[in-house]
């Protein structure tokens, strides 16, 4: 195959391994032998020694060794390296031949077998005549051997066998065929490896020894050959460091060779081989930079060595192969763990390889002219079917002088090569290399490089006439160039794509590419655009377009017939092209006039079109689709017979549409879902350019941004530039339909703040300013939704203000019908709100109605509404405080059973408005009133802000049977209303729970009956009542202490007994001596049986002081006279 001529031979590319031949094994019929062979072959992992094994028959003929040259004096080499040499040493000439022989030390027929073995060894030796190949013998034994030195028979027989076979002791091995076969095999192969190493070492020595016979004039080729061989043997020996060294020497030697046209190919071939080896070893030694440096040097040295100009394509092919194989080596090294970087990765080498393949193709096209017939006899035919030396010409093998021996032969040879080159599938090769490169650049984050290579691939497919694939690739990358705004490159790609589409007669693609090439992003010249536009028009008329320039003439004629078929085909002449993601030659932007329209206004929208092509373009239809398709009918314009819709290049054309929204759509959004422009006609071909949303294309966003930047800088708004500036046109793709503006007024009047629990009146006045009758006026009033959820529970709204509403009243009264409202009419309503808790609340008053109006001659019923809100604070109207005091107005912390005490209440108004307290009452639970009829002391009292109203009740707690000493008192009820409100507004009852009291029982109760005042020197009778409230007889000792203010009569000191539950009275007559407040004589009481009760505890029941009036003077005459 011509293509594979440049492939590197596999024996060059493989890893050289020592070759060891195994003989005497019958792997087909002998199971033991088969097992041994398998142990050698199977599982050759990296930890096993690098040997390639082969099973050969015992009498195998190894390649003959040529007789050793004794002198090089007359020897003229015919080439650098023989084509068979590497293979010979890899696969044909073993480093070691191992003879396997079944023989146990105690074999009964030892003698016979020993001689048979010796014969076999001899046969092997004979066929290796002249070679340094080692021979070793392995005895396959059934018995496990004894440790060395113990088996005397064995050592004796071993040495006799060695003698018989002429073997050194080191070359005789024993392989017991027992359990541990693999272990034995590994030991064996390690020993073989050592022998092989020795063999290759001697080979290296042997080649080196030739050097002294060589001279620089005639044996230049041999210098290279020998260095190469030494390096190769070193590799076989696994001495890669030295191998690299010798290859490097060989490389510099190959460039020292006298180069001329006839041997250029041979030199380059060998240089390429050696370079390959060097790079491979550098990567293997993990010195990738050395590999890259070597490769660069290699390319620098060789790229000018073109050789024969008539076969220049060969050079390009060779260069391409150099880059490709380096790329492969690099890639392989990466797979083994090397890290590559963005700027140094195999992709560049594949790319370069592709470049040279492209050059090869071009050169081939130039040099290999069609017409000539292949020469006969075939000059490329050799007798052996191949070449003797790498890189030589088949028609003059071995020829090393500057001029070709036969000019005629040379000519036919070149012709044959040129003709062969013609059949090479260049595009295929290029595409394969490019796609390798693409894969690499993808990996190393070079998206643009990847795109560029894909463009090249596309172009190559185009050249290979695979237009479908070409278009697929070009189409794929076009988008990248479009978004990156590289118009020059985009235009170039589009041009190629257009050619493909033309040659395929793919109508839709053709239209798309034309459309974009005519657009503003295209960098084509006007005349080009004019030509394309003309073609586009032809396609729209269903005619065959003119061929694209630079198309292959034969392809053009094929394309023309394809087009004719297309044109003849009826139907499928309608295309819809989504142009949003392109940059088409017709630009489209649309907007609603406003982001929202009232339902009684017509909705207006504008579509702006602009053509960028050189000649005017005619359209036949423009249609806008909206999210509600019912409106679509209003947004269509079609060209009628006379007036056509045409776009003048560079001028913006505006189309206005308006329609009336449906009342059901109030509150909804109307969106433009698409815009369609129809080019062509039903008679020819219809092309619908379709934009999504409100138009715009791949470039318009950026243009708008730039325009806004510039206008921001210059303050050039739309206002200052009345003429339509395309870039500044802002698309408005949706609009909101909102309800008609209500023409009514809603007024609220109320007196904040609201008082807790009151029926707070909010009066609402609705006045119509409509010109027609507002029908079905409805009021929704109450707590505005969306506030704290608790407010809903504690707010009650009603229309009935005559009584206090209960908790079932809702927080929001929906849709209260208010009837119709004539123009100018006024309507009032009161809404009552009761707030059970304090704090702010927002109330909503929503008045809705419907009205008939006319929009653009259409009758519609509009629903309008007006909202009014009020934030109202609720406060407590008054604070109530309660205290218990004794009859002496001393605060009580506990209440004595069955002894009267006082309950005092204070009502402190905190309302900003005056309050009327209608009444108050007590609801007692345990207590009883000490006064027969409880009467409110606050009836109709008006409290201003900050004023306080107090009441006092005398109560008594009857003796209780229960042991509980804390008792509930009851409730205090207050009825009140706001002062300004009318008298018929309901009273609000506020209930205050009275505090609990702690009860105590007293064993002895004492109280005194005495007048409210005394008079000096008048008798003041005081009666003390002493009650025994215990179940025991109480002994009471009583004494009256003398006082300066009083004289008294009665028992000064007494001791008496009081029966349980009975009362004793003590009467004293006090005689006041001084006027004013006087302390009564102290009563000392003690109860010997009840020590806790003494004078001190009892004294609280008794009055302490009394007011003594001065002695009344008789109005006698003397005093009158004195006056």
């Amino acid at each position: 195959m011509a293509g594979s001529q440049w492939e590197l031979p596999p024996e060059l590319c493989c890893r050289p391994m020592a070759f060891v031949a195994l003989t005497g094994l019958d792997v087909v019929y002998n199971a033991v032998h088969r097992a041994i062979w398998d142990a050698f072959c199977a599982n050759r992992r990296a930890d096993r020694v690098p040997i390639s094994f082969k099973v050969l028959p015992g009498d195998h003929e190894y390649p003959k060794c040529r007789t050793k040259r004794t002198s090089y004096e007359w020897y003229i080499p015919k080439g650098i390296l023989k084509t068979g040499w590497m293979n010979k040493h890899l696969n044909l000439v073993p480093a070691l031949v191992v003879l396997f022989y079944e023989l146990d030390w105690d074999d009964p027929q030892w003698k016979e077998k020993q001689s048979e073995c010796a014969t076999k060894v001899e046969i092997v030796r004979t066929s290796l005549q002249g070679r340094n190949t080692k021979v070793a013998v392995v005895l396959i034994q059934k018995k496990t051997p004894l440790p060395p030195g113990e088996d005397l028979v064995a050592s004796e027989r071993a040495s006799s066998l060695c003698n018989a076979c002429d073997l050194s002791g080191k070359s005789l091995f024993v392989l017991p065929h027992t359990d541990h076969l693999v272990g034995y095999i590994i030991r064996l192969e390690n020993a073989f490896y050592e022998h092989a190493q020795t063999y290759y070492y001697t080979e290296i020595r042997r080649v080196k020894s030739h050097k002294e016979f060589l001279n620089k004039t005639t044996h230049q080729l041999l210098f290279v050959r020998h260095q190469f061989k030494i390096a190769f043997f070193s590799e076989l020996k696994q001495d890669t460091q030295n191998a690299l060294k010798y290859y490097r020497t060989a490389y510099s030697l190959v460039h020292e060779l006298r180069a001329h046209e006839t041997n250029m190919l041979e030199i380059k071939t060998m240089a390429g081989f050696i370079n390959y080896k060097i790079c491979r070893l550098c990567f293997q030694h993990n010195t990738p930079l050395d590999a890259i440096a070597q490769f660069r040097k290699h390319i620098d040295l060789c790229k000018k060595k073109i050789g024969s100009a008539e076969l220049a394509f060969e050079h390009a092919a060779w260069m391409s192969k150099q880059f490709q194989s380096f790329g492969e080596l690099f890639d392989e090294a990466i797979k083994l763990g090397l890290t590559a970087i963005q700027t140094q990765n195999p992709g560049f080498y594949y790319q370069q390889a592709a470049c040279y393949s492209q050059e090869r193709k071009q050169l081939a096209q130039q040099l290999c002219q069609a017409g000539a017939s292949y020469p006969s006899p075939d000059p490329l035919d050799t007798q052996s079917g191949g070449l003797d030396f790498y890189g030589q010409r088949p028609w003059r093998q071995g020829h090393q002088s500057i001029d070709p021996p036969d000019a005629e032969k040379e000519k036919t040879g070149i012709l044959a090569l040129q003709i062969k080159e013609r059949d090479v599938p260049h595009s295929e090769l290029i595409i394969a290399l490019l796609s390798n490169a693409v894969a690499q650049f993808k990996k190393y984050k070079c998206p643009r490089m990847k795109s560029h290579l894909m463009v090249q691939m596309g172009e190559e497919y185009y050249h290979a006439k695979d237009y479908t694939k070409a278009l697929k690739l070009l189409d794929y990358v076009m988008c990248d160039y479009r978004t990156e705004r590289w118009w020059g490159l985009l235009t170039a790609i589009l041009t190629t794509a257009l050619r493909c589409a033309y040659l395929m007669a793919s109508v839709k693609d053709y239209i798309i590419y034309c459309m974009e090439l005519l657009g503003r992003a295209s960098t084509l010249k006007e005349e080009q655009k004019g030509r394309i536009e003309k073609n586009l028009l032809k396609v729209l008329m269903n005619e065959v377009p003119d061929a694209e320039p630079e198309c292959d003439p034969s392809s053009v004629s094929a394309a023309r017939s394809l087009w004719n078929d297309r044109v003849a085909l009826s139907g499928s002449n309608e295309f819809t092209i989504e142009v949003q993601d392109y940059i088409p030659f017709i630009q489209c932007k649309a907007k609603f006039f406003s982001p929202s329209f009232h339902v009684d206004q017509p909705i207006q929208l504008q579509v702006f079109l602009r053509a960028d092509c050189p000649h005017p373009v005619t359209l036949n239809k423009l249609a806008v689709s909206l999210s509600n398709q019912e409106y679509n009918q209003w947004c269509v314009v079609e060209s009628s017979g006379q007036e056509s819709m045409s776009l003048i290049p560079g001028k913006t054309k505006c189309y206005n549409f308006s329609f009336v929204a449906k009342t059901e759509d109030v509150g909804k959004k109307i969106e433009m879902t698409g815009i369609e422009v129809m080019l062509g006609s039903d008679r020819g071909r219809c092309v619908f350019l379709s934009w999504r949303g409100a138009g715009g294309d791949a470039a318009s966003n950026h243009e708008a941004l730039q325009a806004s930047r510039s206008s921001r800088r210059w303050g050039r708004g739309m206002e200052t530039r009345p003429e339509l500036d395309w870039d500044n046109l802002i698309m408005q793709h949706s609009t909101m339909i909102i309800s008609r503006v209500p023409k009514i007024s809603v007024q609220l009047s109320h007196q904040p703040p609201a008082l807790n629990n009151e029926m707070y009146c909010i009066s609402l006045t609705v006045q119509s300013q409509e010109e027609g009758v507002a029908k079905e006026v409805k009021l929704t009033a109450g707590l505005k939704p969306g506030q704290d959820a608790n407010l809903g529970q504690t707010t009650h709204v009603t229309l009935d203000g005559s009584k206090v509403c209960d908790d079932t009243a809702p927080a929001l009264l929906p849709d209260v019908p208010l009837g119709d409202l004539k123009p100018g009419e006024k309507l009032e309503r009161c809404v009552y709100v009761r707030c059970v808790s304090t704090g702010p609340r927002v109330f909503l008053f929503h008045v809705a109605y419907s009205i008939d109006t006319t929009v653009e001659g259409r009758q519609i019923v509009c629903k309008c509404h007006k909202d009014e809100t009020a934030t109202i604070e609720t406060v407590v109207p008054f604070e109530v405080s309660v205290k218990f005091v004794s009859t002496k107005f001393e605060p009580l912390d506990r209440v004595a059973v069955d002894i009267p005490f006082l309950l005092m209440t204070d009502i402190l108004s905190s309302s900003p408005w005056p309050l009327v307290l209608a009444s108050s009452s007590l609801q007692l639970l345990t207590m009883t009133s000490n006064t027969p009829q409880l009467q409110s002391q606050l009836q109709e009292v008006v409290l201003q802000t900050g004023e306080c109203a107090s009441e006092c009740f005398c109560l008594r707690c009857p003796p209780l049977t229960s042991s509980n000493n804390t008792v509930a008192t009851g409730q205090y009820l207050i009825s009140w209303r706001r002062k300004p409100s009318s008298a018929d507004s309901p009273l609000i009852q506020t209930t205050v729970t009275l505090p609990h009291v702690i009860l105590e029982s007293v064993p002895l109760y004492i109280h005194a009956d005495l007048p409210s005042f005394g008079r000096v020197r008048e008798s003041l009778p005081v009666r003390y009542h002493i009650e025994n409230r215990t179940a025991l007889v109480q002994e009471v000792e009583m004494a009256v202490e003398p006082s300066d203010a009083f004289m008294f009569s009665g028992l000064k000191q007494v001791r008496l007994r009081i029966l349980p539950g009975s009362e004793q009275q003590m009467l004293y007559n006090y005689y006041p001596l001084m006027a004013g407040y006087q302390t009564l004589p102290q009563l000392n009481i003690s109860l010997p049986r009840c020590p806790t009760t003494n004078t001190h505890t009892l004294r609280r029941f008794l009055p302490q002081r009394i007011f003594v009036k001065p002695q009344g003077r008789q109005l006698d005459d003397a005093s009158i006279a004195a006056a």
Binding site: Q342, T343, K445, C446, P447, R448, M449, H452, V455, Y481, E484, R485, W486, G488, L489, A492, H702, L705, Q706, R709, S710, R713
Partner: protein, 109 residues
């Protein structure tokens, strides 16, 4: 000397691109465009390391370049940007800038 000079916007589109007219213009455009891969990578690396951001020269992208040349071009570019009538982001149309670029390009013919 230079064969092609390009000024690229931060959104990666060309603000200015000019190459030696005798050669394949398209090829240069592709080369400039593909070298943006490396520019992008280098700029993102600068952002990451927060290194000396005053260093505006990114170094070798892959063909050889000259630092001094960058300075000269950058100064001229700064002049263009300082022009109050220039809108950043628009392509550069300046005679002075053209002149500087021409001076840096290969003198052919």
């Amino acid at each position: 000397m230079a064969v092609c000079i390009a000024v690229i916007a931060k959104e990666n589109y060309p603000l200015y691109i000019r190459s030696v007219p005798t050669q394949n213009e398209l090829k240069f455009h592709y080369t400039v465009h593909t070298s943006l891969d490396v520019v992008e990578e280098k700029i993102s690396a600068v952002g990451k390391s927060l290194g000396d951001q005053r260093e505006l020269y990114l170094g070798l992208l892959y063909p050889t370049e000259d630092y001094k040349m960058f300075r000269k071009l950058h100064n001229s570019f700064t002049d263009v940007m300082c022009n109050p009538f220039h809108n950043p982001g628009d392509t550069i149309q300046s005679k002075a800038f053209d002149g500087i670029v021409s001076g840096m390009m290969v003198q052919t013919g």
